[in-house]
């Protein structure tokens, strides 16, 4: 029974996209995550390496200068200091020196590589020390300050201050960053495309199946279309077996339903036989009376209407039975008399159970709704209601036009419909046939008929204590 109610689809992150897009998107998302992580690692390694290289180069520059400068600083010889700075300028490729200033022990400038900017003898304000030169580039700085104290025979005689343009390092870092971004973007795009192509190929069998399923009627995949690869072939074979099983189940269900209908009719027929038999005794007596005393006008006048009524009763029972047996093929407009037939058909059953039926038909002229299918559906509902209602209980029936629809309601005093059955009845579509006879099969028929004639089913709690099943039949939907 659980299978009757289709489980709701779980909410998805990418709800409406087909698999062929979802997989590439997931691939792209994962690639972006991976490349962000990898790039971050690569860049921080690059930063460390670049910073180390820069510090080493800076140290090499300062170490190279220091011994040459120290004696000149001791002598406070501006020319020699300048000459050393000037000659070393081109020696350190990769170190973009903006300015190198050499100060004496008093902090005054002895000479600078650009003497115009920093004249000899001027006071030099040393920039604050940068503790971590290796991280300068990563921090987005464009200028680094290096400092080295000049030692001569154990005492500090001055200092070298170098201002270095690390813009090129930053540019190099930016190039690496963009290379990473572009490279990863290309790889991501390529993998996503690959994912798209691969998934498109992979889901092709599924698409074939879904196309067949979407067509409404499940059709097996013909042998000519069987693919070469074993996996898909197994899927198709499985699908074909499923289609075959569904077909056989459908056939079985129809046979069961027919049997059920015949059984119900048989049950009704026995009741009707009783109905026919009841007047038969009276009729026979009346005939006997006519035969014996038919000469008397008074007797004839009393007996013939009695005979007529009895025969009419029998005729009505027979007609009703025939009409019911004609079944769902009868698409005449529904007349109150059709509903009256149902009441007659149901009467013996009710009598047997000592049940009463509140009957209300709110129209007189035939309405443009198909009589045959509705009679069948209502008969099923009424029989179900009678079965559900305990001995001596009450049933309700009403047929009232409501706007452009006919509202047919059947109520009982039974235990009510289970939530599953209620959901099954009210769900749209033909639904899956239950593989069980009994009331479920009746409900399946009701739902099938409602589906065929475009009617809607509502299930509610009846004031009588049991279930109320309402068929709302659009009047345009007669098909007649």
């Amino acid at each position: 029974m659980r299978a009757l109610v289709l489980p709701l689809r779980p909410r998805r992150l990418l709800p409406r996209l087909p698999l062929t897009l979802r997989v590439p998107l997931v691939v792209a998302g994962l690639m972006v995550l991976v490349s962000v992580a990898v790039s971050e690692r690569a860049l921080s390694r690059f930063d460390a390496s670049q910073g180390r290289h820069f510090v080493e180069l800076g140290n090499a520059y300062l170490d190279g200068l220091a011994p040459a400068l120290a004696p000149a600083v001791v002598r406070e010889d501006p020319w020699e200091v300048f000459d050393v700075l000037d000659r070393s300028r081109g020696l350190y490729q990769g170190l973009e020196l903006l300015q190198t200033v050499v100060t004496g022990s008093d902090g005054r400038v002895i000479a600078a590589s650009d003497p115009r900017a920093t004249p000899v003898g001027s006071a030099f304000a040393a920039p604050p020390a940068r503790p971590d030169a290796a991280q300068l580039v990563a921090r987005g700085e464009t200028i680094a300050h290096l400092r080295r104290d000049l030692q001569h025979r154990g005492s500090t005689v001055g200092a070298i201050h170098a201002r270095v343009d690390i813009g090129p390092l930053k540019a190099e870092r930016d190039r690496v960053l963009w290379t990473l971004i572009l490279g990863n973007a290309v790889i991501t795009a390529a993998l996503s495309l690959l994912g798209y192509v691969a998934v498109t190929r992979m889901v092709r069998p599924l698409r074939t199946l879904s196309t067949r399923l979407a067509a409404g009627t499940a059709q097996p995949v013909p042998a000519a279309e069987m693919p070469g690869d074993a996996e898909t072939a197994r899927l198709y074979e499985g699908y074909n077996r499923l289609v075959a099983a569904l077909e056989s189940r459908e056939r079985l269900t129809r046979r069961l339903a027919e049997k059920e209908r015949l059984a119900a009719l048989g049950q009704l027929a026995s009741g009707m036989a009783h109905e026919i038999n009841n007047p038969l005794g009276g009729l026979t007596t009346a005939l006997d009376t006519l035969e014996a005393h038919g000469d008397g006008a008074e007797v004839r006048a009393r007996t013939i209407p009695l005979l007529r009524r009895g025969l009419e009763d029998i005729g009505r029972v027979v007609r009703t039975t025939l009409a019911s047996h004609r079944g769902a093929t009868d698409h005449r407009p529904l007349a109150p008399a059709d509903l009256e037939d149902l009441r007659i058909l149901l009467a013996p059953e009710l009598r047997l159970r000592g049940q009463s039926l509140d009957w209300h038909v709110g129209f007189e002229a035939p309405l443009p709704v198909p009589a045959g299918p509705l009679r069948q559906a209502l008969l099923n509902l009424l029989l179900n209601a009678a079965h559900a209602t305990p001995q001596g209980g009450r049933l309700g029936f009403s047929a009232v036009p409501a706007g452009r629809a006919l509202r047919l309601s059947v109520e009982d005093a039974g235990p009510g419909l289970s939530a599953e059955l209620a959901a099954y009845l009210t769900a749209a579509g033909s639904g899956e046939a239950p593989l069980r006879s009994g009331p479920h099969l009746g409900l399946w028929l009701v739902r099938s008929i409602a589906g065929e004639i475009g009617a809607r089913i509502e299930v509610a709690r009846s004031p009588l204590g049991g279930a109320q099943v309402v068929l709302i039949v659009p009047m345009e939907a007669t098909g007649a």
């Binding site: 501006p78 020319w79 300048f82 000459d83 000037d86 650009d114 003497p115 115009r116 000899v120």
Partner: protein, 287 residues
């Protein structure tokens, strides 16, 4: 010691040659001719030194060694001490030791054994006169240089000023070319430089020379001479050197060397040729 050893070896060789009775040229087997050079020339130019050594070797018939020293004083000490056969020195050290040194020959520049001392400033500097240089950082070439120190110091002395107080600071670059570099770079705002060197640089390194401007030219002064110490030098060698220098312009290799030096040749000069330098030296000594 070196000289002692050298002399001993020479005596031994002479003895050997005499004993063998060989008629080989007497100088051929002797010690090399030593010539000391101050940075009065473009000493950084090794090609130039090669040409000079090549010419002198051929002209003297001797291997020639060139001794370059950083300061004029070092060179002066070498020649005064007889450690070299001859030296190419500035006029200032010569006049300071005129009693001990003898001029062998003086180069001819632009037809005369004369040159000028320049006061240079940065090209864009506003200075119009030497007095505008007060408070400058000033670059000298060498404390023993005529054009690179003496002329400027004497100029100030004539006005009753002293180098130390007139300028904010001074520096010695020990090479005339470096004076030009110091001024061109802005390290010094003005400099005292050899006019001959500046003119040659204007031709060979115009970018550097033209970053400076000549503010003042001195009157013509005696060009740095080649000198010997007659008290210690071999007269024969000195005479040979004089001959080699005076005949340089007549020799193709000599002319190539002169062309490199932008000189016309060498000449002998009368005794008073360096008197104006001597007068400046005296003035400065009296200060």
């Amino acid at each position: 010691m070196a000289r002692h050893r050298g002399a001993t070896r020479r005596q031994a060789l002479v003895t050997l040659a005499g004993a063998a009775g060989l008629a080989m040229p007497a100088l051929a087997q002797q010690r090399p001719f030593l010539l000391a050079l101050t940075p009065v020339l473009m000493t950084s130019d090794l090609d130039l030194l090669g040409l000079l050594r090549g010419y002198l070797s051929a002209a003297l018939g001797l291997p020639v060694q060139l001794a370059t020293r950083r300061s004029y004083q070092d060179v002066t000490v070498l020649v005064l001490g007889g450690k070299v056969d001859a030296a190419w020195v500035c006029g200032y050290p010569y006049v300071m030791h005129r009693d001990l040194l003898e001029v062998v020959a003086v180069p001819l520049w632009r037809g005369a054994p004369l040159y000028e001392a320049y006061l240079i400033v940065e090209r864009g500097a506003a200075a119009r006169d030497w007095s505008d240089l007060e408070g400058d950082m000033h670059a000298f070439s060498d404390p023993d240089s005529n054009s690179g120190y003496l002329v400027t110091a004497a100029l100030l002395a004539q006005q009753g000023r002293r180098v130390e107080s007139f300028f904010r600071g001074t520096m010695f670059t020990y090479e005339h070319r470096n004076v030009v570099r110091a001024v061109a770079s802005g390290l010094a705002q003005s400099g005292s430089v050899d006019g001959y060197i500046w003119e040659v640089m204007a031709e060979t390194e115009p970018d550097l020379a033209e970053a400076t401007r000549v503010l003042r030219r001195s009157e013509p002064l005696g060009f740095p001479p080649v000198v010997v110490n007659p008290g210690m030098a071999d007269p024969g060698r000195s005479a040979a050197l004089r001959g080699a220098l005076l005949s340089m312009a007549a020799d193709p290799a000599g002319r190539a060397l002169l062309a490199e030096l932008r000189l016309d040749g060498f000449t002998e000069v009368p005794g008073g040729h360096f008197d104006s330098i001597a007068a400046r030296a005296t003035l400065l000594r009296q200060l």
